[in-house]
Amino acid sequence: MDKSLLSDVPQVAIWIARVVVIFGGLVTTAALMSLAERKVSAWMQYRYGPNRVGPFGLLQPLADGLKFLFKEELIPAGANKLLFRLAPAMAAIPSMMTIAVIPIGTLVIDGDTIPLSIAPGVDLGIMYMLALGGLAVYGAILGGWASNSKYSLMGGLRASAQMISYELSLILSILVAVVLSGSLDLTKIVEAQSHGFWNVFTPFGFVAFVLFTIASFAETNRHPFDFAECEPELVGGFHTEYSAMRFALFFLGEYCAMTVMACLNVTLFLGGPSLPFLENTPWWLGIPVFLLKAAFFLFLFIWVRWTLPRFRFDQLMRLGWKVALPIALANLLVAGAWVAFTTKGG
């Protein structure tokens, strides 16, 4: 066979198909997460949860979306109108964009390999993710400040303080994966783990994995660190004053950020689309395996939310600065030393 099935298909069409699949998948996951959150919490509390719209309530996110579209939007008279309008977009867009460099797996169609990732060759992948992930703070603090409401301001301040505090241990635990594979390219990090030996199997890899998981909860403002919302004391936190579509964007941003964090965790420490202890994972198994692993972390987000009580703010700060940060620093050094003493040559 001298001509493969895909040789007549223009590259642009393949690229558009990839964007549609990944972007659509991300938004759908976020929508389904909003349903899963209510369903799982209902099961954990011995209730039914939403079950009226569609089979098992599966169309509930669609109904919610329609409702968001038709709801009146209120902008408080005292608010800073420009920043108030801008903040939800600032929260939603960066968290959706970070999915671009995650390698979800590869498709092999008739001998042609198509990486299922929007930008598989970006050699600064991790830098890109951290740069955009850092922008998410602006959504929270601008939304909180621009509302001119006391609850919003408190929520915004807390959210930003906690996001920046945990970003340090997040970055340091990511650096462990970088040291182990010697690359900032997520595709190369996955390749380094693709022979069945995941980063999490090393002791420092495991510590980094645990730190990353904890930090990802704090970064996305999830329980047990959800001081940004903290319903009993702050009503709704930084989005108290938001309604209709702009509120939906904050929501979308939060769930997209969770999805990306789950994917990044799988990519950095759990081998991405590979199986453990196998020399080679067949390509058709890669994508389901990746999605299953990511789904586990998404479930973990919900599971923890309905299991653990909320921290106190001083406890959060203490854990972030006095426990996680020193451990992460020491852990990086141990990983560096291990790499240095096991690398041959020189």
Partner: protein, 177 residues
């Protein structure tokens, strides 16, 4: 590779279009029946008192400042983490330089300095969230910072009062140890 950066740019515009299209559709579809009550800032059903744009706790600012210091320093660890393997194997970007163990030691020295910075802010009490005003400056409430013992502002006030009282009272006899 540069094609991939272009991909990212185009993908970003997809996200922008998605978000603003949603906002546009919503702005066409939704009703606009604004009332003065509806435009009030939410304050548990009470009438709003004053603006929220007031001074907030200085500690948020301190945390942000400490973060900036650490974030900038950690940014310098990226190149180190990236080339360490190459430096040890004498390949890739570090080929022929022979900086192997020197590179490792540099990393250790750098992180040690970072760690000193952490120790400094720790000792200054900037990492403690619950502080008591004592003398001329804020200080960590408890030297051992055991959190079980720290709870409310009222506790702190009571503690300050108790100490003020103790300072006024005649010094007790030093006990033999």
């Amino acid at each position: 590779m540069y094609f991939d950066y272009l991909n990212v740019l185009v993908f970003a515009s997809v996200g922008l279009v998605f978000v603003f299209a949603n906002l546009l559709i919503a702005s066409v579809l939704r009703p606009k029946r604004l009332t003065d009550e509806g435009l009030d800032t939410y304050e548990c059903g009470e009438e709003t008192i004053g603006s929220a744009w007031v001074q907030f706790d200085i500690r948020y600012y301190t945390v942000a400042l400490v973060y900036v210091v650490f974030a900038v320093e950690i940014a310098f660890l990226f190149p180190w983490a990236l080339v360490l393997k190459d430096a040890m194997a004498n390949t890739g970007a570090a080929a022929g330089l022979g900086i192997g163990y020197f590179a490792l030691a540099e990393g250790f020295a750098f992180v040690a300095i970072l760690f000193l910075g952490l120790v400094y802010v720790w000792c200054k009490g900037d990492l403690d969230w619950v502080l008591a005003y004592e003398g001329q400056r804020y200080q960590p409430k408890f030297a051992d910072s055991r959190l079980e013992r720290v709870s409310t502002v009222r506790d702190i006030e009571a503690e300050i009062e108790a100490r003020a009282k103790a300072a006024k009272a005649p010094a007790p006899e030093p006990s033999a140890t």
